[in-house]
């Protein structure tokens, strides 16, 4: 029998209901595990053991009074350092927010609290979610639990690594261009980015507002579905949030939907730059679906090759403006060197931001400049609509799309940190999904010969989460990759 900390939400919910365990026991198991392995993994920037146990006790108290709040009641969920938790540090792994404490909860955190979840720790990330390896954290480098020399992916590397290492039962991340799905693939866990607007962005520190989404990391598709159900919904505090359309009882729906489905495979996603072991792994996954009676349709996403450049125009433009508020005036780091308004701005930002953040602010400022706006930002928005059009056309013919999540498995630390462009290509298969605002999930689909996890990406229609979960669940049921755990 596996340790409590490697169990799923669904399993623990049953045990809790049966009185076989308690939230305090689960939380303590997770705390002990984190204390034992986080020195190697370095997934957490900080955690508050006392507060976690206090929440766990409250959960056990509710349960003893017969007032359990549901499947998530008492489950420790780790939180990425870009989501606001009341009275917890909120640093986005940046020096510029060192010592900043949030006075409010993000809407997704509030919703998890209402479902009884134990809000657990602050998880490492690339500074302001800019990166694909978590090496851009200003505080520490997180390791991949499957290979401590390798990166966990990013930007939600801490969320993926903590879950894979058993330091949480589930975690939250954010996904702007692949920041949930790519690390999920590299760490061998499930990671999901919902339809844009399905989860409120209130309390998510904005990187690129039109692309950012909160999403879950979980051990199984079912667990991800449970977390999604708890967090989704229109929020009066986020004008871009949308009331869900279609089925939302994901966790029960996914077991009832059995296919067969029409599944699209875009040829553009298997070309240059893909690691041969990943290519054959995903082809094998496609074959599996075919063997189950699914119709496999070759589809075209002709504008997907433009996704990376379009993304780096739109995301950096929005970031250059979103990050302007970190100026040393009202909160966060203020340079000791500053003596007037201008130097408060320039010195605080100069000292507070890391290289990648500066690079993107400069890029974003450039593409919005007068004289360049039309050529870059406006044109990028037009191409963005073409990319969405490609998907809409494809979804006329298919129920979901199968692609690799990442072109390569986890790479070694430092391997790409000097070459931003090669780092940017880590997200080549995930970025177009954010530009189109549609949902996608990465699920474990096998391992390389050297034992590194591989992820299969399943892309759904806008608000087509129920189908997407069902397709993913079917694969998971037919394989045993999801419950593999690293040796630590």
């Amino acid at each position: 029998m596996p340790n409590l900390y490697f169990k799923t939400i669904a399993e623990l919910a049953v045990m809790l209901d049966a009185g076989e365990t308690s939230s305090v026991a689960i939380t303590q198991a997770v705390i002990d595990r984190a204390r034992a392995v986080d020195g190697q993994v370095k997934a957490f920037l900080s955690f508050d053991v006392k507060d976690a146990l206090k929440q766990a006790k409250a959960s056990d108290q509710r349960r003893s009074e017969g007032k359990s709040l549901g499947l998530l009641d008492g489950i420790p969920v780790g939180i990425k350092d870009t989501l606001a938790v009341k009275d917890y540090p909120l640093c986005c792994a940046s020096k510029i927010l060192e010592n900043y404490v949030s006075p409010f909860d993000a809407t997704c955190i509030l919703k998890l609290r209402k479902a009884g979840a134990v809000i657990w720790g602050r998880l490492n990330m690339d500074e302001f979610a800019m990166g694909s390896s978590t090496e851009n954290s200003a505080y520490q480098t997180t390791s991949n639990p499957w290979d401590l020399e390798a990166i966990p992916g990013g930007s939600s590397g801490g969320s993926a690594a903590a879950l894979a290492a058993g330091e949480a039962i589930a975690t939250l991340g954010t996904d702007t261009g692949g920041s949930i799905r790519q690390p999920a693939a590299l760490c061998g866990v499930v990671g999901m980015k919902p339809t844009y607007g399905l989860i409120s962005r209130y309390g998510l520190v904005a990187f690129a507002s039109s692309l950012d989404q909160v999403g879950p990391f979980a051990r199984t598709v079912e667990d991800a579905a449970i977390l999604m159900e708890a967090m989704l919904g229109k929020d009066p505090l986020d004008s871009t949030s949308i009331a869900p359309k279609g089925e939302t009882g994901y966790a029960s729906v996914l077991k009832n939907k059995k296919g067969p489905w029409k599944l699209g495979v875009p040829q553009e996603f298997f070309g240059e730059g893909i690691h041969p072991e990943i290519k054959s792994n995903i082809e094998k996954a496609v074959e599996w679906y075919k063997a189950q009676g699914c119709e496999i349709v070759n589809i075209l996403l002709p504008h997907s090759e433009l996704a990376v450049p379009v993304y780096y125009i739109i995301a950096t433009a929005e970031a250059s403006s979103n990050l302007a508020r970190f100026d040393g005036v009202r909160y966060g780091l203020r340079s000791d060197d500053s003596k007037d308004a201008l130097s408060v701005f320039t010195k605080s930002r100069g000292e507070g931001f890391g290289d990648e953040v500066k690079r993107r602010i400069i890029l974003g400022t450039y593409v919005l400049s007068s004289g360049y706006y039309d050529a870059y930002y406006l044109r990028a928005q037009k191409v963005r609509r073409l990319i969405l059009g490609d998907f809409e056309k494809a979804f006329d013919r298919v129920d979901a799309i199968l692609t690799p999540t990442s072109p390569t498995p986890a790479f070694k630390r430092g391997e790409r940190s000097e070459d931003p462009l090669s780092m940017y290509l880590s997200d080549i298969y995930t970025i177009s999904v954010n530009l189109a605002g549609i949902p996608a999930i990465s699920i474990p689909s096998g391992f390389t010969k050297s034992g590194l996890p591989i992820g299969l990406q399943i892309i759904g229609k806008a608000f087509g989460e129920a189908d997407m979960f069902a397709v993913a669940h079917a694969f998971e049921q037919g394989h045993s990759y999801t419950r593999q755990t690293p040796n630590l």
Binding site: T240, D327, Y331, T365, L368, Y377
Partner: protein, 488 residues
């Protein structure tokens, strides 16, 4: 060479709403610094703006009042610039598509004297858009403090075409604009409280030329007299430069009240590149055309339309309409009084003379017209007063006394007359005996009257009125005096 001055104004008006433009934080003038803030106002990480629909409605009303075209969609742009009073270092504004396009305002220029109506003309507007107010900086000798109370207050920016041709016209425009806005209940436009602020673009051209000259923009004009002084200063400065063969530099200048001079702030070359782009946090709002029609139907009669109507239909002179029509409370007071007793001229006179005199005697600020709502006097007080005078119950003379009494006590005029026994005396025998005394006491006046000097009779009426404390019915008194003298 003779030059013509061309002026365009940009007026910022704080729109009266209970809460700020993008958050539920309240706004009231004069609260202790930084007490009217919240996460959104301070731009805390993770906060998002949510639109206050009242601000849009109020600005729509303003646009309709000023004959603008109302946009089909209300969109938001970010104006990016770093300044310590700007919490996000970008301002939410409407760059591409203002809520209100075009428009015009009828203005009344000063006449040759205060009692003679001046010329009217229409001034063309370019646009009105909504934006958020920044905080307020206060510069001390050693430090600058920031108050974010004002930050996020809805501002309407009204931009005129270069369609004003003297400082007098600019002043007339501002006065008429203020009247219209206060009338519609959109803002109190108190310039001392920063509720209305003005920038002026001033340029000169050779008289008769169509082409606009190079302009300078005068900032920080926080009273109408400053607008006048700054424009006049600028006209002299530019004339001097042009006459010496120089050319005007396009620049922004700051008006300094103390020295009554303007100073260059920055030239065109130093102008900001605001890197406008559509705000990704706020969705465009579709304007409901039926609601716009409703708002249009609810607009009050414009002040100058009312003035025309009072002159034409009620036969009121300019000296009266110019006082009553500039203030909506006064004109409504007047119209309500007419509903009780239709005597436009008498009632208008009471309002324009007696009421305003009494109000200003109790007002600390000389803004007498504003306190008419607070006064104990109601429209029926004045209507009934006019009625009992017309009915001969009291004389006009006594009416003045009753007016003061009712203003101070709030008692109805008929009650005052009854309690104080002020009704006119029709006691012919008493009046006759007093008249005889008057005639015998002033032989000179009697002979003058007999020689045809009608006015000489007044010298005889005086002592009678004095003896009756003004209660003698003037008509009866007149008849008796004439009868007695004729009988001599």
């Amino acid at each position: 060479m003779k030059y013509e001055v061309v002026i365009g104004l940009e007026i910022h008006v704080q729109i009266k709403t209970r809460t700020k433009m993008f958050t539920a934080a309240p706004y009231v003038y004069g609260a202790p610094p930084n007490t009217l803030t919240d996460a959104v106002v301070l731009g805390l990480p993770g906060s998002l703006p949510v639109l206050n629909h009242t601000a849009i409605e109020q600005c729509t009303k303003l646009g309709l009042m000023l004959n603008c075209e109302i946009a089909k969609e209300c969109k938001w742009d970010r104006k990016n610039y770093f300044y310590p009073d700007s919490p996000k270092n970008y301002q939410l504004t409407q760059n591409e598509e203002p809520l209100c396009a075009g428009g015009k305002l009828e203005i009344e220029l000063p006449g040759p004297s205060r009692n003679i109506e001046g010329e009217h003309r229409w001034v063309a507007l370019n646009r009105i858009h909504l934006e958020e107010d920044p905080g307020k900086l206060t510069h001390g000798p050693f430090e600058t403090t920031i108050d974010f109370n004002r930050a996020g207050v809805p501002l309407a920016e009204i931009v005129t075409e270069p369609d004003l041709f003297s400082s007098t016209e600019a002043v007339a425009f501002l006065n008429c604009l203020r009247n219209a806005i206060v009338y519609a209940g959109i803002s109190d436009c108190d310039m001392e409280k920063g509720q209305m602020r003005c920038d002026a673009n001033v340029s000169l051209r050779v008289s008769g030329s169509e082409k606009l000259g190079t302009r300078s923009e005068m900032k920080n004009l926080n009273s109408i007299s400053n607008v006048k002084a700054a424009i006049e200063y600028e006209v002299l400065r530019q004339t001097e430069i042009l006459e010496q063969g120089g050319s005007i530099v396009q620049e922004t200048r700051r008006w300094d009240v103390e020295s009554a001079q303007s100073f260059s702030l920055r030239s065109k070359e130093d102008a900001h590149d605001y890197r406008y782009f559509p705000d990704p946090d706020l969705m465009p709002v579709q304007m409901d055309s039926s609601r716009v029609a409703e708002l249009k139907a609810e607009l009050p009669e414009r002040p100058l339309d009312k003035q025309r109507r009072y002159q034409k239909d009620l036969g009121l002179p300019f000296t009266i309409t110019s006082v009553i029509c500039v203030n909506r409370d006064l004109s409504e007071f007047f119209e309500n009084a007419l509903k009780t007793y239709y005597a436009p001229k008498q009632i208008a006179n009471y309002i324009a003379n007696d009421l305003l005199r009494e109000l200003s005697s109790v007002s600390d600020y000389g803004e007498s017209a504003h306190c008419v709502r607070q006064s104990m006097l109601t429209p029926s007080h004045i209507a009934i007063l006019a009625k009992i005078i017309d009915e001969g119950v009291i004389s006009k003379q006594i009416g003045k006394e009753v007016f003061v009494e009712m203003f101070q006590t709030g008692l109805m005029p008929d009650l005052i007359v009854e309690r104080k026994g002020l009704s006119q005396s029709d006691d012919i025998s008493e009046i006759e005996s007093l008249c005889r005394q008057a005639i015998s006491g002033n032989v000179k006046a009697v002979s003058q009257y007999k020689e045809g000097n009608e006015k000489a009779l007044n010298a005889l009426k005086g002592p009678v009125m004095k003896a009756t404390k003004g209660k003698a019915n003037p008509k009866i008194l007149d008849q008796i005096l004439k009868k007695l003298i004729d009988a001599q």
